[in-house]
């Protein structure tokens, strides 16, 4: 059965023979074409010995705001490179004198590279130098003038912490990705880094033939050329006019504003001050400028919205309040007595209001930001529950924001204290501090804006993001980034209602009254956090409108003073601009105190200022 008959085998042998002969004939024809028909052309090339592989760099994608306005563009810039294998000492010296560089520097750059692959020598050449190089081309075999694109920012565009910058590939990066060539530009910080592969595009290759003097004889085999593919354009969620306005509010300050759209997690504004001019880091970076930025004590290179961590101060009372209510540790009716101070062991700690708030329940304690209430509440909650709720609200971990180098902040746990301070590291005093957002607790402004988003959404959280979509010019296609949504479970509607209502009262008549916007119901919470670097940090977080929030934001002014006095007005301006596209004229700046008549008088200067742990 299985063995073929003689005849079948013969037939199959014929099929095999014919296939083999046809393919060999194809090879013969191929060799005939190259060695006989095309022999002369190839012989010429082989005489010069000079096929050169050149890289065609793609145009880097632009960055645009939500309306398509260009924020970061690509412009041509000339640079000179050399073919190490064709260089003579004389050429190096001539080149060095034209571009005004030390010949030793050029030799350093090509040391150990004896290839036909060009090595970049100097970038950002001026036109006068380019024309001189062109004129003396015959004296400069192996020297190439090439063009690349460089980042360009239209007038009025700053926000370096959003865009970041591009720079030359360093050794580590080249090792990780062998595709990258020395001298090539890749994203180093910010969006340029996060979306580098999309923005960068794909390099092309073309082959030219050159003679012994380095004259270009043209492309030898166009079929083998590969066109570079331009990078995709990146569209952001921000409206840059609004971003500019938000930045203007912080001009002379140190701090950050992060405003999110709670309906989808899109960034509305992302401000970090002080900053620097992104033009300083575009193209060739001078060492002087870099040194200056690095050593500036105001740290302009720091993206405060995501990289800096601060104690959140009283804004964090919200978390303690939710934990206590949800766990049933207290009821809304439970009250504490605030005489203006609180005795913890041998220590006396004070409320910011030295006169005291009297007998106070949780709602009023939030509205009036009573510290003594929360010291006592903190002790009742305990570290485990407090840490559990902090983590539930995603503190102590990165938000997944699409800008690199985000800090995680810190939610200290019992184990943390023991580890750091030894077996007796944990004391109850810590808890009193943590409950009012002081002590070891550290958060980023973005995390605080995210907290405002949770409360606004009653537990729904969308991953904050600033990139809206990529626009692929080649395919004329928009690639949207999916919205990542999660839900914080286990917090009841009643608790949210109480907290939200209290936050509304904070702005309506409490410590955050300077954050109120006419015609819009705003909910917020002030914070004034002590820190070892001097004056207190001013915090304010808010969302609005109360019923269907469309903006959730966090403002911090480093060493600015009281949150209600300093941060809340900034938030108010942000919201006014957002809702009315202008600042509303304010006929009077006076607090509506009618409802607070029964309460002790509050001095504006003292708003939300707390003094704790001063006396023994």
């Amino acid at each position: 059965m299985n063995e073929l008959s003689r005849q079948q085998r013969k037939a199959r042998q014929l099929v095999f023979n014919v296939s083999v002969i046809i393919l060999f004939l194809a090879l013969y024809i191929g060799f005939f074409q190259i060695q006989i028909a095309g022999s002369e052309k190839y012989y010429e090339i082989s005489l010069d010995n000079s096929v050169r592989q050149l890289t065609q760099y793609p145009v880097r994608g632009t960055v645009r705001d939500v309306n398509g306005q260009i924020l970061v563009d690509d412009r041509p810039s000339f640079f000179v490179s050399v073919i190490p294998r064709q260089l003579t000492d004389k050429t190096i010296d001539t080149l060095a004198s034209i571009i005004m560089e030390d010949p030793v520097l050029i030799r350093d750059k090509i040391r150990g590279k004896n290839t036909y692959r060009p090595v970049i020598i100097k970038k950002d050449l001026e036109y006068s130098i380019i024309s001189e190089l062109e004129e003396r081309r015959l004296d400069l075999p192996g020297v190439l003038v090439e063009v690349e694109s460089k980042r360009f920012y239209p007038d009025g565009v700053f926000s370096p912490h959003i865009f970041g910058y591009v720079g030359e590939v360093d050794k580590n990066e080249a090792e990780k990705n062998p595709d990258l060539e020395p001298g090539e530009l890749i994203g180093k910080k910010g969006l340029e880094r996060e979306y580098d592969t999309s923005l960068r595009g794909t390099k092309g290759v073309y082959f030219t033939s050159v003679d012994a003097e380095g004259r270009d004889l043209g492309i030898i085999n166009p079929d083998r050329n590969i066109e570079a593919i331009s990078g995709t354009d990146l569209y952001l969620t921000i409206d840059y006019n609004y971003q500019q306005f938000a930045e203007s509010l912080m001009v002379d300050k140190r701090g950050a504003i992060v405003a999110l759209d709670p309906r989808n997690g899109r960034v509305i504004a992302f401000v970090s001050k002080p900053d620097y001019d992104p033009r300083l880091l575009s193209g060739k970076i001078s060492e002087e400028v870099w040194e200056k930025l690095q050593s500036d004590t105001a740290h302009p290179l720091y993206s405060r919205g995501i990289q800096s961590v601060y104690p959140p101060g009283s804004t964090y009372k919200i978390v303690a309040a939710i934990a206590a209510l949800q766990e049933g540790i207290i009821t809304t009716k439970w009250t504490a007595y605030c005489p203006g101070w609180f005795k913890l062991g041998r220590k006396t700690i004070h409320c910011w209001n030295a006169k005291g708030h009297g007998k106070i329940n949780i709602r009023d304690a939030i509205i009036r930001s009573c510290n003594v209430f929360f010291y006592q509440l903190g002790l009742k909650i305990g570290i485990e529950t407090w840490a559990k709720y902090s983590k539930m609200f995603l503190f102590g971990e990165s938000t997944g924001f699409d800008l690199p180098n985000e800090s995680k902040g810190l939610v200290p746990t019992y184990d943390y204290y023991i580890k750091k301070y030894g077996p007796n590291g944990w004391t109850k005093g810590n808890l009193a501090n943590l409950a009012i957002g002081q002590g070891e607790l550290l958060t980023t402004p973005l995390q605080m804006a995210q907290l405002a988003m949770f409360i606004a959404n009653k537990g729904v959280v969308h991953r904050p993001h600033i990139a809206h979509y990529l626009y692929d010019k080649q395919y004329n296609e928009r690639l949207f980034f999916p919205t990542e949504t999660s839900y914080i479970q286990g917090i009841s509607e009643d608790v949210y209602e109480l907290i939200r209502e209290a936050m509304r009262q904070v702005v309506a008549r409490g410590t955050g009254w300077l954050g109120s916007v006419p015609g819009i119901e705003v909910a917020g919470k002030t914070g004034t956090s002590q820190n070892p670097h001097g004056e207190d940090h001013a915090w304010f977080i808010a969302f609005a409108p109360y019923e269907d929030p469309v903006i959730a934001l966090a403002v911090i002014v480093e060493n600015g003073g009281g949150g209600g006095a300093v941060a809340a007005p900034i938030a108010r301006k942000c919201m006014e601009k957002y809702f009315y596209d202008r600042l509303l004229p304010r006929t009077y700046v006076k607090r509506d105190t009618t409802v607070l008549d029964s309460l002790p008088q509050i001095q504006l200067e003292d708003v939300d200022r707390l003094r704790i742990g001063i006396s023994e």
């Binding site: 059965m1 299985n2 063995e3 073929l4 079948q8 085998r9 013969k10 199959r12 042998q13 099929v15 095999f16 023979n17 083999v20 002969i21 393919l23 060999f24 194809a26 090879l27 013969y28 191929g30 060799f31 005939f32 190259i34 060695q35 006989i36 095309g38 022999s39 052309k41 190839y42 012989y43 090339i45 082989s46 005489l47 010995n49 096929v51 592989q53 890289t55 062998p178 595709d179 794909t202 390099k203 092309g204 290759v205 082959f207 030898i220 085999n221 083998r224 590969i226 692929d472 395919y475």
Partner: protein
Amino acid sequence: MPKYDYLTLGLILILVTIGCFAIFSATYSTTADENNFFSRQLLWCVLGVLVMIGVSFVSLKVINRFVYWFYLFCLFLLLLVFLIGKVGQGAERWLIVGPVYVQPSELAKLATILAVSKYLSDKYADVNKIKYFSTAVVLILIPFILIARQPDLGTALVFLALIIPLLYWAGLNWFNIFTILTPLLTMILSFSFWAFMILMISIVVVLTYSRRKPIVLVAVFLLNIGVGIATPYLWNQLRPYQQKRILTFVNPEKDPKGAGYQIIQSQVAIGSGGIWGKGYLKGSQTHLRFLPAQHTDFIFSVIGEEFGFIGVSFILLVFLMLILRFIHIAAMIRGQFESLTIIGIVTVLFFHTIINIGMTIGMAPVTGLPLPFLSYGGSSLVVNLMMVGVVLNVSRNKFIH
């Protein structure tokens, strides 16, 4: 006394000798230490020829008995390279045995051919039955997957290339071959509407005249339609970079990392050789080191430059004679096992030859497959000669005179 196949032996010795000369030229330089490629290859040649002659005298019964063990042993080695293997310059993996680097994927070729041949030469084996067909394919796919994951796709493809010739020789009928081949063709042509339509019409015509059961015809037709519709859809589901990765494999010259550069340099070398060549050791492209991997993958470019079209034609002729000779032997001998084995061997040698030589002039993709008997490399040379030894053995013992 059986006759020894001196024609085959002669052709092989010619190729191996030319290979040594070419390697000498490709690695020739004034500095002495670089020349140990030549002396090493010489050593491998001597060893390989001894192995070849040795294998040609081993009793076929002994070989037959150990076929499956040999196959399992090779699979074991292939698994072993994952654990303790060393990744080479390409994607291939090596085992280090003392001073010698071994590529188990080379040995696995012979082992797989023998195993499939033995399986299909069983008295009851009928390759047109699904059970025997699929078992034979699985025997080939196991080493294919292991090698593809190294990831040495070039060598792995050699295994895929074995499937159709082996099964066809084992008696697979034309209709089944048609059923295997058409979906592949459909996949390629599905991107052009008219090409796809013409193919579908041709398929319908062929099916109509095939006189099979209607249900089979409908199944084959629907399979092709399904593949034709699914392929462009799946392709569009891929992200551009994924598409690019696939295109780069199909057409590696488009890889900006330098396969295009290699081919152009190789074309320049071969083209500049002209009719008569530049003369031995006089190839300027070769000696200025313009050629990439000129002693391994691009050894044929060295020959093309130095010996010209005449030299190329001669070597192509030698390869052609060798391959036709092997097919002739396969057709003329007794025994299904022996005949199938030779078909497997000739397929491997032919595939390597066409792909490697085609690559040097840009007709085939750059896959890193060495040229049998000529490229530098011990594992490949010894295993190729071992396979020739098997052919010599069979032709000595089983020829129908």
